[in-house]
Symmetry: C2
Subunit: 83 residues, 2 copies
């Protein structure tokens, strides 16, 4: 077994409204910052042990599909690194 960290990034799908990100963008603009767009995402860093990078990735993808992301509104991606 090898120790891995799987990073799962969960984003709203294109077209899903994100009022929190819009509010953050406006607050930055009120502070005088120039920006064109702001998107927010959730990032989960999962420490796990697995037999291979492929097994760690598969488990992290299962976690995203079962709990971390809502497939109706979210896309996700997974990165796996050895710890």
């Amino acid at each position: 077994m090898t120790a891995y960290t799987a990073t799962v990034t969960v984003r709203l799908k294109h077209g899903v409204l994100d009022p929190e990100a819009e509010t953050t963008k406006q607050a930055l603009e009120r502070l005088g910052f120039e920006l064109e767009a702001l998107r927010s995402a959730d990032r989960f860093e999962v420490d796990l042990e697995a037999d291979s990078t492929a097994a760690a990735r598969e488990r992290a993808e299962d976690m995203a599909e079962r709990l971390l992301a809502n497939p109706t509104i979210h896309d996700y991606d997974v990165e796996v690194d050895e710890r």
Copy 2:
């Protein structure tokens, strides 16, 4: 001016309790997943125009310090890519 995307990742500092991450970890374990630890972070993807990568990075770091992160409890890092 060049178009950049700055990705700001905001994490709780080591030692700051994260009950939401703990709850998520327990929920994954109840679903049968094996994992050792789970950390959550916020990720902001900011599209902006700047004269150089260094200028884009500096603006994104200012955004993190002024609004996106709370220096009492958060660490942050910034990555900048050309769009």
